[in-house]
């Protein structure tokens, strides 16, 4: 038995440490992106991180059963909100994503990212074991995923729609559906992509085409990717030094504090900063997967792994986009990109995973760290 009092050992020091490191680094990068000023971004981001961390800790105290019970009602209400966005949502950035509640802009598609995981996991938790290889195990999940996916896609927000689909499908995969199902759909998907491409909006098509060859239009739509690669590439191994990035400070890098914050970071901290940051995220994912492996409850396992994957998708899609491996889809980098919505979502995920970890530890005390 440790000499440290139990509430302290129970406190999720490790994950909070990782989050603090990432968010602290992110705040530092935002400080530099503002030209060496804590306003307007760094201070806001820091305060938000503290508030959302508290929120995550509060969530971690909520019994897992509550999340299970509220999974479908929450899913239902976000779905309604998505319909409302279609009907009354304000037009912004060429796509409808917000509902103006007067005091804040509500972006329901953001909430759908974790809630789709909760809902699909709930469905499989409720499903009798023997049904898993039956048709009944597939279509309800497909409907659960398909409806919000389509709603978000027509907004249109390709990035978020992809993440919703990916989150739900990941849970389906973890729930134990036959493997060939995934292989078969993967092949079918590959065949459908060219057809689907023709249904995309022009600006989305452009993004895809320019992603294939950013240099074809370095001053136009390929500008983001070109400048981002220039920022990362010119950083080298150790970077240009804190506050010394030229791409970001001279405004060549667009969205240098939001979607392309990684490029801002890489320019000043180089490969070293990038490896450390990616490493930190990997530790976070290892923690999440670890929690899911240790969890006893089926719902808990699916949720923990599903939410971890959701956070992973944020990171992976953003980094691939920034490094020129994916089209520009507007997915922020958690804790680094300036903005409240994404941090709220990711902290929701983290809070729920912490709740799972906590309930698992209560069941098998003293818990060993995986």
């Amino acid at each position: 038995m440790s000499i440290v009092p139990e509430p302290l050992t129970e406190f999720p020091w490790r994950v909070l440490g990782i989050l603090l490191a990432i968010a602290g680094f992110g705040t530092l990068v935002l400080y530099s992106a503002a030209g060496g000023s804590i306003t307007p971004w760094a201070i806001n981001q820091g305060v938000r991180f503290v508030i959302f961390s508290v929120m995550a800790l509060v969530l971690s105290r909520i019994p897992l059963e509550t999340f299970a019970r509220f999974a479908f009602p929450a899913y239902g209400s976000v779905l309604v909100a998505l319909f409302l966005v279609e009907l009354i949502g304000g037009v912004a950035g060429g796509s409808q994503r917000w509902i103006n509640l007067g005091f804040m802009q509500l972006q329901p598609s953001e909430f759908m990212k974790p809630i789709i995981v909760l809902a699909v996991a709930r469905f499989y938790a409720l499903l009798p074991v023997g049904e898993i290889r039956r048709w009944n195990a597939i279509w309800p999940a497909l409907v659960l995923i398909g409806v919000p996916f389509m709603l978000v896609l027509v907004q249109p927000d390709l990035g978020t729609a992809t993440m919703i689909a990916a989150g739900g499908v990941t849970v389906m995969f973890l729930a134990g559906l036959p493997l060939r199902l995934f292989v078969g759909s993967g092949l079918a998907f590959a065949a459908i992509v060219p057809i689907a491409f023709s249904f995309l909006h022009d600006y989305q098509k452009n993004r895809v085409l320019i992603f294939m060859d950013p240099e074809s239009d370095p001053l136009g739509a390929g500008y983001h990717i070109s400048q981002s690669k220039i920022a990362i590439g010119s950083g080298g191994i150790f970077g240009k030094g804190f506050l010394k990035g030229t791409q970001s400070h001279l405004d060549y890098l667009p969205e240098g504090h939001t979607d392309f914050v990684f490029a801002t970071m890489a320019e000043e901290w180089g490969l070293l900063g990038g490896v450390l940051l990616i490493g930190a995220f990997m530790l976070l994912f290892r923690w999440g997967i670890g929690v899911s492996l240790r969890a006893q409850d089926k719902y808990a396992r699916l949720v923990a792994a599903g939410l971890t994957t959701t956070i992973f998708f944020y990171v992976a899609i953003n980094l691939m986009m920034v490094m020129g491996l994916a089209p520009v889809v507007g997915i922020p980098l958690p804790f680094m990109s300036y903005g409240g919505s994404s941090m709220l979502t990711v902290m929701l995920c983290v809070g729920i995973i912490m709740a799972i970890e906590r309930s698992g530890r209560r069941r098998s005390r003293p818990g060993n760290w995986g």
């Binding site: 074991v129 048709w135 220039i230 590439g233 010119s234 490969l271 990616i278 089926k298 490094m323």
Partner: protein, 693 residues
Amino acid sequence: MKLPFSKKKTVTEASLSFTFTRRAMVVGGLQGAIGTMLVARMGWISVAENEKYNLLSESNRVNLTLIPPRRGWIIDRNGRPLANNRTDFRVDLIPERVTDAENTIRSLAHLLALTDDEVERIKEELDKSAGFRPVQVAEKLTYDQYAAVSVRLPDLPGVAPSQGFSRNYPAGATVGHLLGYVGAASAKDYEERKNPLLITPGFKVGKDGLERSFDRELTGKPGAKRVEVTARGKIVRELTTRPDTPGNAVKLTIDAGLQEYAGRRLATQSGSVVVIDCHNGDVLAMASMPSFDPNSFSDGISHLEWDMLSKDDHVPLRNKTLQGLYPPGSTVKPMVALALLEAGISPMDTVSCSGAIRVGNTLFHCHKKRGHGSLNMRGAIAQSCDIYFYQMAQRIGMDRIASMAHRVGMGQKFPLPFPSQSFGTVPDPAWKLKKYNQKWQVYDTVNATIGQGYMLINPLQMAVMASRLATGRQLMPNFIFGAQRPAPAPVGVNEEHLVTIRDAMSAVVNGGGTGGAARMTVPGVLMAGKTGTAQVRRITMAERGGGVRSNASLPFKLRDHALFQGFAPFDNPRYAIACIIEHGGHTNRNEDAPMIAADTMTFLFDQAKAMEKLETLEKGWGGPPAERMARQMAAYRLAKAIEKGEAPPPEASNAMNGAETSNNMAAAAVPQPPAAATPADADDAPPPADSAR
């Protein structure tokens, strides 16, 4: 319902849990793999391709701008600047970067207090511009104006303020045709040479005259400035600067003081003066007035100013010294006389002038209706008797005269550093046959001997003729100080004959001849010369019967040209001079060719005296040329405004001025001196009726 492809595998809670664990490991593994791939990708970009992206980042950040080299000075024979550079602040527009031309120009007009003319010119140039070629907005700005534009740059895309040098011509209009002017390179130049310097704001190339001919020497090497700029083009700081290398100075044979004096002395007339050093052919002055002001040309001339200059009947846009061709009139008589002497005619042989002579079936008149009576060569030159030359020329024939004309420089094209040169004609039988397929007639000879008919000369050639008659050497005009040249060939005449000619030419000025107005008041310096009148209209028999109309009563364009060629001192020639007044008509003694030539010559011997006289005279002309041009411009602008109805019709006195200006630019803003055409001035009265012109 079972899935069609499902095997009869028994699914239990335990097996499902195992599947989950395995699949969760796969998911975790995939995440790790993708993470590793991302690190690898980042490593590739930032390490393997580091060099490439570093370069791109630098080329983003660093903007290399060329600093236009300062143009070399053009200096006179004493080192005085004829063209130099002045520090100035300027603003240009880069057309392809301008987003809202209308608003940009409006705010610039407000900031820089541009006139409507200027705004008009800028809009026009912007329309015509090729996109990359800068359009000058304003030059010679104060620091405050420059700063006012500079701080508003983010709101004014395409506006480029800069600090640089602009060309400055201290003598203004008097050197206009001599030096030419500079201007931004044309789009065509850039397309041919693709030199980025050509489209650098503030860089000028020589457009005309010596500025154009010596462009290569005068253009230096550009400097460069590396500046850090933001994506929006705002300059953050200067990194390094390599200074420019100024162009080489070009030293001319021109005497700056004399050049300016000659230009001013031409008064309100349309004319030219050329002065040549009799020692070596150096051109000391070559003035053509009125002229454009090269300062305002180099700044980008306004539409209105151009309009005014091109409509002026005094043709300020033509370089009369090289491109103006005139019938030389009686100024060829000394040359013809020299040909007579060389052909063996004694200077003492006389001809009796009765006022007219019949050649073939045409009656040729002398300018003196009653005739000069009996004259020898000296008298014939001094009195400019036409009958003497009609008769004598018939004795020796045209070929000998033409040969002499060629030897004294008529019809000769000189190797000069000017883009264009008209070199006139010396007609002879072979030429006429070739050109018109007609036989040479006696009356052709008669016309040619008094410098009418086909014969044409430019003012520079006339000065060369004067210098060759003065020295007996075939001097070549030269503009480069200290240029190495072969010794001039002799004209090939007997020295005694030359003395006879010089003596006769002195008699023109100092011996009661037709050129009395050219007498110099410098003690010990006597000018020798020959006057001339070139008729530009045909005088009918009817008019001759009723009395030839006086030039003063004729419209400007029909008046005779007044010419004078000469040298001083007559017995030991030092300088030769030629002066031509277009449509001068000998109506005004002070502004006539002989006196202008004499005063200009006086400047070389007694500067103070010449200046004193000029300053007195200039008061009557309305001040120095720059002042008169400014007044003319203002009057023209007013007239235009009234025409367009933009300005209210002014009060009576102003209205008079305005109307006068638009109708008759020649008279505008210049108090016309009393047209007292004293009969004594009319040295060469109208030549024969048949002079083909």
